[in-house]
Amino acid sequence: MIKIKCGTSIMLMLVIILGGSMGWTASLPVVGGVLPDLSPNFSLPKPNDGVVIIEIFSMYCPYCQKEAPNVNKLYDKIQASPNLKSKIRLVGIGVGNSAYEVDVFRKKYSVRFPLYSDGDFKIHQKLGEPRTPYFIGVKINLDGSHRIFYSKLGEFGDVDAFLAEMVRLSGIK
């Protein structure tokens, strides 16, 4: 009789203990997958058959600070191409940064692309707490759906090579 109840109670205990300790944390963005709902502080652009490159950064992150000029170069390259300019959007989300802190980063590095504030780390948590800088490439479709085609931690290196990769992986022309 004891044996019969044992298994079920063990299972229930494990669910409670392990579930609690794992905390059911989100995982990082997966290539081929979709982003979780990041509103109200950020939402993807309306359906447009284009690409959004999202930089997850922090004003307090020395790697993001070092990479800022390179990301600006990426933005400039996109803007310099009449074709890519209309198809690729670059945005940044400052995780754990207040609007004030995002503004400091924007002014310090003369960032000309939109930066968003994730002051309470909610977006950071929903994205699986990526370290920074973290780049996500999202292809937006005309029907409003979207697909992640790039999701990586760290600097992206050569701007031309990265841009070419964005075009290739997203399938935009």
Partner: protein, 204 residues
């Protein structure tokens, strides 16, 4: 009846076994990245674990500590010259989500605008502080070691935690050496830059 119950129970036990296996395998699925290997995560800590000994309006206890540039810095050397922001952080090589100094490193102009210097302090020894702060790029402010006697200055200010690290605390001291602002912050959170700059703006 007995057979049905046993099967159900066996299934539940197996499910529990699978759950346990998944839990133990968890680190395999956790993100691995270039920077994480060097960072020890102590988890969520008790927000504050000390009793502050100083008050706003009081003279700031003077001290002399070694800095990572190889010299010594005395608080009193700024008397009559600069306001001082003392930024204590708990320890080198701990989770970056609450890391402050790399952020302060890019707003030197704001400190200058308020005639202020920034002194970064932890209870770590000099070599540790040196390696750790090297990762932040070139810092414009001195970094001081309150290592030996261990946490003596943190203790003077009443911000030495029971496990031997300092609180995440900010003290603003004016040119007369008077404490004008104290923030013994939740160790797990990063103090707001805006609040700090606003408080600096209140100094005359």
């Amino acid at each position: 009846m007995k057979i049905k119950k046993t099967s159900f129970d066996a299934i539940m036990l197996s499910f529990g076994g699978v759950l346990l296996a998944l839990f133990l395998a968890q680190p395999v699925f956790a993100l691995s990245d270039a920077y994480k290997d060097n960072i020890y995560n102590p988890g969520m800590l008790k927000p504050i674990d000390s009793k502050v000994k100083v008050k706003v309006g009081q003279k700031a206890p003077d001290f002399t500590l070694p800095d990572i540039a190889g010299g010594k810095i005395a608080l009193s050397q700024y008397r009559g010259k600069k306001n001082v922001v003392l930024s204590f952080v708990p320890a080198a090589w701990t989770p970056v989500c609450s890391d402050q100094w790399p952020g302060y490193n890019i707003v030197r102009d704001m400190f200058d605008a308020h005639d202020s210097v920034l002194l970064g302090v932890t209870v770590d020894n000099i070599p540790t502080l040196f390696s750790w702060t090297n990762q932040m790029g070139k810092l414009w402010f001195p970094v001081l070691s309150d290592f030996y006697p261990h946490g003596k200055v943190a203790q003077q200010y009443g911000i030495l935690r029971t496990d031997g690290v300092a609180e995440r605390a900010i003290f603003i001291i004016d040119k007369k050496g008077i404490i004008r602002y104290i923030d013994v912050h939740d160790i797990n959170q990063r103090p707001s830059l805006e609040v700090l700059i606003t408080e600096l703006g209140k100094l005359k």
